[in-house]
């Protein structure tokens, strides 16, 4: 196999590692930002949680498990949904913007500098 070809692969692999590491850390940052508090419970704003809270039968009490598996009664569903949605959109918009910028960075130097 041609040496320059292997060097090209190596260069690509290094760039991909640097890109992926930066992206993973941005994702971890977004995940931490998804955590919000309601009535003493700490929840992660996931699409599933938001949808379930929105679609639940209003004739029934809405009890949700927080991140520590503690059941929390959601007294004001609208406030809960608003907090969850705010957290979700903020975190995901920020992650998306970051990712769009990341896609333009084509060298390891740019990934480090920008």
């Amino acid at each position: 196999m041609d040496k320059s070809f292997l060097q090209e692969i190596e260069k690509f692999s290094n760039l991909k590692t640097a890109l992926d590491t930066k992206k993973t850390n941005a994702y971890e940052r977004a995940k931490n930002k998804l955590v919000f508090a309601y009535e003493g419970g700490l929840f992660t704003a996931t699409p599933e949680l938001i949808l379930f809270a929105k679609l639940h039968d209003t004739q029934r009490d809405l009890i949700l498990l927080d991140n520590n598996n503690t059941p929390v009664k959601i007294i004001d569903a609208e406030k809960f949904i608003s907090k969850a949605e705010t957290g979700y959109y903020e975190a995901m918009n920020e992650y998306h913007l970051f990712y769009e910028e990341l896609k333009k960075q084509r060298t390891v130097k740019k990934l480090i500098d920008e």
Partner: protein, 295 residues
């Protein structure tokens, strides 16, 4: 004051194997961190526990105003065995390619309950740098204790059992790097249990299979204490629902937003989106602290 952040900082001198000396300035790290807490967090009361030399150093850095409280203590040794002796508890760690040995004055951490001036306290290591407001959410919990459980290293090269368990046959590891507690009987019991573990370090190190650890570690003491509080079971009750991002001591922060890491026996580098980070490489922690202080 009801809510605030508490840090412990005692400066020390590290040596490498060529006997070169390196001053580890935990005080400057704490000052830089207090400055960032004021910048990024809503709950920005910060208390510092240090010794008289540490307090003098804060004055020298003109950083008194960054703290709502500076609590001066004289650390004393308790317990049996070298690990709990202030001058003997020496830790080896890498800083990039070098290995250094440094005194680890971490034995006063179990006193945090009585020393904290706050009702609700987030106790953080001075090398856990705050770069966002995610810790504010934790003050809204109704739990009495939440402790760091999920840890990821920012180069994502290793997945170490050391990050999740005291030993592969032992209990799960809690990270005292970030510890939330509310003044309550439950948290008082936890700190008393930590003291008991510290005072009987050799016994508990055999019982929980961490006798290979040559140093007293608050992470281990708190893991045992929380194991007891959970009824000697593993639950998620005390897990802090945030991931603690950390830089391993073998890797290097280039500045606040980029770092170099070992990759296939070479150095690689990439950017780092600003977020809270535990910088275990002390040289890097001091560099970042300097950047924050003088920016």
């Amino acid at each position: 004051m009801n809510k605030g952040i508490l840090m412990f900082a005692y400066n020390g001198k590290a040596h490498d194997f060529d006997k070169n000396q390196l001053d580890i300035d935990y005080i400057q790290m704490a000052c830089a961190n207090a400055k960032n807490i004021k910048k990024y967090m809503q709950n920005d009361n910060v208390a510092l526990v240090t010794d008289q030399a540490g307090k003098d150093h804060v004055s020298k850095l003109n950083a008194e105003t960054l703290f709502t409280h500076i609590i001066v203590t004289t650390p004393t040794s308790e317990g049996t065995g070298p690990n709990t002796n202030l001058d003997m508890n020496v830790r080896s760690m890498r800083i990039g390619n070098k290995t250094i040995r440094l005194p680890w004055k971490n034995q006063t951490r179990p006193d945090a309950y009585s020393l904290s001036p706050f009702n609700q306290t987030i106790l953080i290591d001075s090398d856990y740098f705050v770069f966002d407001n995610t810790l504010d959410t934790i003050f809204e919990t109704n739990k009495n204790i939440l402790c760091g459980k999920h840890v990821k290293e920012i180069s994502h090269q290793d997945s170490l059992i050391d990050y999740s368990r005291l030993h592969h046959q032992s209990i799960k590891l809690f990270w005292a790097t970030v510890l939330y507690f509310k003044k309550s009987n439950e948290s008082m019991l936890m700190f008393e249990m930590m003291k008991a573990v510290k005072q009987n370090w050799q016994f508990y190190s055999k019982m929980y299979k961490f006798e290979d650890s040559r140093t007293y570690r608050n992470d281990f003491a708190i893991s045992v204490a929380l194991h007891f509080l959970q009824g000697k079971k593993e639950t998620t009750y005390y897990d802090l629902p945030l991931t603690i991002m950390c830089l391993a001591d073998k890797n290097i922060m280039l500045n606040q937003k980029s770092f170099a890491f070992r990759y296939k026996d070479r150095w690689a580098g990439t950017g780092f989106p600003k977020q809270n980070i535990h910088i275990m490489n002390k040289e890097s922690a001091m560099y970042v602290a300097g950047e924050i202080m003088y920016e």
